[in-house]
């Protein structure tokens, strides 16, 4: 009898140990996947924050630029920079034939003419002189410099020719190639050229969408939650509403995209591809999340607080507004931020309402066409150029950073402002 009992006890301890082991291994697995994921993204993406520049001597020849003596500011604006730009690239190899000159030109971004122009506009005294100017390397050479380019492929399978590589290697040997922090990744809008493409447009698009989403979803959801939780009678009708709100939270996001397309764009004729429409669509999606969070935190306010307020003669409205709602706010706000973070990462509904369009301007308001960060990732991931691979990862890093900051904020609100019940 006694022995049996001991066996039973041992068995119970063993079972607990096993259970702990399962739990630990589950956590270990989760951490492992997360680490692999983050490592992969960082190792691919970190190089996108560096940009390769070629240092090329440029002679600002007034004649080639068709400038008179003592040109005015407007003259400098209107001058022709193409010839001197072309010439400075061709001069990298004095023996180059016409084909090779063309190849030399393609070693820098097509933006090189503007870069030379800006140089002169900054310092008009350069006319007639020669200066070494930083020109953005083409995306392929950028990848060559970062060591991401398969140089050992046969030439016909590469976009970089042997000749370009030869000249590039000479430049590297003469330390005429430099890598600097890639500011344009944050200040440029999207571009077809990987070396010029940046996230400014999609970043602003995301911010505008989230703001529109917040301004619509938060008040509506909080009012709905307060009404349902504090004022609505409990009957079949409110039960029905509750079930449907929960269902709404489970509706696939692409359905909301279709709704945005069918209602906002087709019927209300709102401007397509804009953060306004994106934000409204996302707010439909965020609404149930916030309602559920707000109701849960209203429910968590102890009934004794309501009774205390009612018993001293506060009306239902005063009880709600003075006590219940302020006490539920931390939970509601952190639920809201989580909902917004979800909306921030949403791609499918935005693609449907046209925010997937190629936008090379930075939006100044929610009414301007824009992309959003996750859609930008999608667009770049579809592009063939090698230069976009690292940009995809870099954009994911920015999005993740954004999300982490938002979630951190939600945690801080919850811990700092949540009241402790004695």
């Amino acid at each position: 009898m006694n022995k049996n009992k001991e066996q039973l006890l041992n068995k119970r301890y063993k079972a607990e140990q096993r259970f702990r082991l399962y739990g630990l291994s589950a956590i270990f697995m989760a951490l492992l996947f997360l680490t692999i994921f983050i490592f992969k993204i960082f190792s691919t993406g970190y190089s996108a924050f560096q940009k390769t520049w070629l240092i090329v001597p440029v002679t600002f020849d007034a004649e080639l630029m068709m400038l008179d003596q003592n040109p005015s500011k407007e003259d400098l604006q209107d001058a022709d920079y193409y010839d001197i730009a072309l010439k400075s690239m061709a001069d990298l190899d004095p023996n180059a034939n016409e084909d090779q000159e063309n190849e030399l030109k393609r070693m820098v971004s097509y933006f090189f003419e503007k870069e030379i122009k800006n140089e002169l506009l900054n310092d008009p005294n350069l006319i007639g002189k020669t200066k070494e100017v930083y020109l953005t390397a083409s995306d392929d050479l950028d990848q060559v410099f970062k060591g991401n380019y398969p140089r050992d492929l046969p030439e016909e399978q590469r976009r970089v020719s042997d000749y370009q590589l030869k000249i590039f290697d000479q430049l590297v040997a003469n330390s005429k190639v430099e890598s600097k922090f890639n500011i344009s990744f944050f200040t440029n809008a999207d571009s077809r050229e990987a070396e010029l493409a940046g996230i400014a447009s999609s970043f602003m698009g995301s911010i505008f969408s989230i703001l529109v989403c917040l301004m619509i979803a938060f008040p509506v959801a909080v009012l709905a939650a307060i009404y349902l939780e504090e004022f609505a009678p409990k009957n079949r009708f409110t039960d029905f509403i509750e079930v449907n709100i929960n269902n709404l939270a489970a509706v696939p996001s692409i359905v909301f995209g279709l709704l945005g397309l069918g209602v906002l764009l087709a019927i209300f004729q709102l401007p397509r591809s804009t953060p306004l429409v994106g934000g409204i669509t996302l707010s439909l999606m965020t609404l149930p999340t916030i309602i559920i969070a707000a109701r849960a935190s209203l429910k968590a306010v102890p009934p004794s607080i309501r009774e205390a307020a009612l018993a001293i003669g506060a009306s239902r409205m005063q009880t709600t507004m003075h006590h219940t709602v302020p006490l539920s706010m931390p939970g509601t706000l952190s639920g809201t931020i989580i909902g917004l973070a979800q909306a921030l990462g949403e791609t499918a509904p935005l693609i449907l309402i046209g925010m997937v369009a190629f936008v090379n301007t930075i939006p100044g308001s929610p009414m301007d066409p824009a992309a959003s960060l996750p859609v930008q990732i999608y667009i770049w991931a579809e592009s063939a150029e090698r230069g976009f691979v690292e940009k995809v990862s870099a954009c994911i890093m920015v999005l993740l950073g954004f999300l982490i900051i938002m979630n951190l904020f939600a945690q801080i609100i919850r811990h700092k402002f949540e009241k402790k019940w004695s």
Partner: protein, 258 residues
Amino acid sequence: MRKNGVKMIKIKAKDVDVFYGKKQALFNISLDIEENQVTALIGPSGCGKSTFLRCLNRMNDVIDICSVKGEILINDFNINDKSCDVVRLREKIGMVFQKPNPFPKTLYENVSYGPTIHGMAQSKQEMDEIVETSLKKAALWEEVKDRLHEPGTGLSGGQQQRLCIARAISVRPEVILMDEPCSALDPIATAQIEELIDELKKEHTIIIVTHSMAQAARVSQNTGFFHLGQLIEHGSTDKIFKNPDNKKTQDYITGRFG
């Protein structure tokens, strides 16, 4: 209190029935409550004494399925009448709950909340006075006067309950309902509250629900005994405890059930 030898009746309950859904919780309760006296409601758990107490300031309104029938006259006015405004009613009838439930705000805000929403103070100074007198009447002033702006939830259980009493009397109610105010407190805190109740009855009519018969005997002048939703017997505390008419009362008082 007697005026010219006549008992002054503050609250008159007539044939009160209470239903939770289809279940009847109180049967035909008729009870008179004397002004400026402490009336104790005793009885075993689930007998309906708290339910009856909550009828007196219409706190049962909060419970959706609860319905109250019958008349409850306070100052000869039927509070179950449609014309009765619960906000005004609850200003006149304060309540202290079983578990101390201060607002998670400062001590000052806890006490000033009632006067604020009822517009009882014209200036900050007046409000300060109300807070001070309320806390003094609740015998809490000396302990907390230096930390009025600290959270009320930081006090001990007994202090919290006295804070809740201060909050209830801050709006100068005519009646104070107490729903087992000492059941969550230790004996020392209980003694303080009981002393306080004795003091408060000079200005307020007090109705206290209690589990402790000793407490009822100590603090009350009148006692009502509830059992299974019925008011078995009521009368002066002396009589109920020493010479009850009803056998059930006798059994409960002597600890034979309950």
